[in-house]
């Protein structure tokens, strides 16, 4: 919970990770390049006083995660969105078992989302059933640009992917988070392209598709699709930190999202440990649309509350304390 000027905000960090990118876990040069790239993001877009040293960044462990999120970072609930990247890391980049154990040890505070890869076909489907049962899955994080042998990516609307989505429906896994953002190589199987979201959002209306990184670097394609598909949401991971380095650009992103998809479908995420939530939450609550962007309406406190946590709480059925919910609008007084 975060409180400012008498207003209390429920905070759900909808995209966090517990990763291990230490050299001993790197399978190859790509593993090093991947974490180096993350570290450049971290250094480039964080305020100087919250930049970590490189070694801490490659592995920070469970206790640091708990402290950064829940003690210092005002977070009420956080959702693991792992990138497995087993072609780059020996034991995977996201630490599945550790994150799952941490989730169990902190009931009500963490949700563990897992991943699937349709290129594993029938065997992967069987694994998904087991995972859903063992991990109590309500969501998954899909990395369509993940390498897998000769293949460097896949599409959500491919035949096998559809079978997995249908299985998700059966298993009650309703929240499908999809990485559509910068880095990680697509070739002409263009993994930045959000067109495949359009296809499956239309066909699976009971599933929620949360586009992580709001489609950046192709925000407009995401907005165009999300406007037409009511079950498409925007995750602010990677867009959030611009609030510090490029506040005007951040205002434009938020302004465009509010115009195209509205205040009920935008989810706050720190993308921890790319960035820590504390400063993002503080700056977002203080944030105002700059005066030189008169085309955007001011952000209201209710909009900020929805974005910071209430929208994600609604998708995940989280129990928000009554004092942190939005009060019902005052009924109009009959004259």
């Amino acid at each position: 919970m975060y409180e400012k000027n008498g207003e209390k905000y429920y905070i759900c960090d909808a995209h966090i990770a517990l990763w291990d990118a230490r050299p001993e876990n790197q399978r190859n040069i790509h593993g090093k390049q991947f974490i180096d790239c993350f570290y450049d993001y971290h250094k480039n877009l964080s305020p100087e006083e919250v930049v970590w040293d490189y070694d801490t960044y490659t592995y920070y462990g469970e206790q640091r995660l708990l402290k950064d999120l829940f003690e210092d970072g005002y977070v009420d609930h956080a959702i693991f969105q792992p990138a497995i990247l087993s072609d780059f890391y020996k034991r995977g980049f996201g630490q599945t078992e550790d994150a799952l154990a941490l989730t169990r040890a902190n009931p009500g505070k963490l949700t563990y989302n897992h991943a699937w890869d349709p290129r594993h076909e029938e065997a992967g489907l069987e694994q998904l059933r087991k995972d859903a049962d063992r991990m109590g899955l309500k969501g998954v994080k899909l990395y369509t640009a993940e390498w897998n042998g000769d293949s460097r990516g896949w599409k959500l609307d491919s035949l096998w992917s559809r079978r997995y989505l249908e299985e998700c429906l059966k298993l009650g896994i309703k929240n499908i988070h999809v990485h559509k953002g910068p880095t990680i190589r697509p070739l002409d199987r263009d993994a930045f392209d959000v067109a495949d979201i359009d296809q499956v959002a239309t066909d699976y209306t009971e599933l929620n598709f949360i586009v992580e990184h709001v489609g950046l670097p192709r925000l407009e394609d995401f907005c165009w699709i999300a406007t037409q598909e009511p079950n498409v949401y925007g995750g602010l991971a990677v867009a959030m930190p611009f609030i510090h380095s490029r506040p005007k650009y951040f205002a434009q992103i938020i302004g465009e999202l509010l115009y195209w998809i509205g205040e009920d479908r935008i989810l706050f995420s720190s993308d921890y440990a790319l960035w820590t939530p504390k400063w993002l939450v503080e700056k977002f609550v203080d944030f105002e649309i700059p005066a030189d962007l008169p085309e955007y309406a001011p952000l209201t406190i209710a909009q900020k509350k929805k974005i910071l946590g209430l929208n994600a709480a609604s998708l995940y059925g989280l129990d928000v304390p009554a004092e942190l919910r939005l009060s019902m609008p005052e009924p109009a007084v009959a004259s």
């Binding site: 480039n44 000769d150 190589r185 070739l187 263009d190």
Partner: protein, 248 residues
């Protein structure tokens, strides 16, 4: 006849032509020259030819874009008269070896990436040329509205003739040429990707979408510039030029 070494001024002229050639190479996603973005780390001109090293904001920058820019750089340099042998090398990318070998062998995109590349890059390039045109159109129209105090409804039949000259208009004309649209004064400004005029009632939405495109393109450029500066924070984000040419 005895070969006479070129005078320093002629060698300097070549240097300027080489830089100007590389300045015609555009990052398709950012719609800015690779020279402005700091992607050209060095240019070496010697008696044999020219060698340019390129670098990108991350080692994971999409390889199709990386290849596009590197091969455009080769083509641009080859068009410089008397330049000699042209070598372009992409540094610090996870596909550096593959791309550099492909460029050296003139293998083309499909030849370079083999079964990973289903098709050539023309469609990808065209997609981003269309986006660049959309963003340029929005800049022109919004600047016009701001300077005249009018609304878009008050500008029926807006044509290129109505747009004041300047960098915004120049940019729009270039983008129109890139995607095969006309640049006559009577040509309409508000058109779709195929040059079809936008019906009046669809204009507000077309402009609103164009704005999102512009914000996206500009934002990506901020992002990439920032990442490049972070990645090479011990090096200047300028181009090192060495020129030892004595003769052509």
């Amino acid at each position: 006849m005895i070969a006479v070494a070129k005078s320093p001024s002629e060698s300097m002229e070549l240097e300027a032509e080489v830089v100007a050639a590389l300045a015609t190479v555009i990052d398709p996603e950012l719609d800015q020259p690779i020279t402005d973005l700091g992607f050209v780390s060095s240019i070496r001109i010697d008696d044999a030819g020219v060698t340019a090293h390129l670098r990108l904001p991350t080692s994971f920058c999409a390889p199709n874009f990386a290849y596009l820019m590197a091969s455009d750089a080769v083509d641009a340099l080859r068009r410089v008269p008397g330049v000699g042998a042209v070598t372009v090398l992409l540094d610090d990318h996870h596909d550096s070896d593959k791309i550099n070998a492909g460029l050296a062998a003139n293998a083309g995109y499909v030849g370079t990436f083999g079964n990973e590349a289903d098709q050539d890059l023309d469609e990808l390039r065209r997609t981003f040329q269309r986006k660049a045109h959309t963003a340029a159109m929005e800049r022109c129209v919004m600047a016009l509205l701001r300077s005249t105090g009018k609304t878009i409804e008050q500008l029926p039949g807006l044509t290129l003739w109505h747009l004041p000259g300047g960098p915004h208009k120049d940019a729009l004309l270039r983008r129109r040429t890139d995607i095969g649209l006309g640049i006559r004064p009577e040509d309409p400004v508000l058109v779709d990707d195929d040059g079809v005029p936008v019906p009046p009632d669809a204009v507000p939405l077309r402009l609103r979408f164009a704005k999102a495109v512009r914000i996206s393109v500009e934002g990506n450029a901020h992002f990439c510039r920032g990442l490049l500066a972070t990645r090479y924070d011990d090096e200047p984000i300028t181009t090192r030029i060495t020129n030892t040419r004595r003769k052509r």
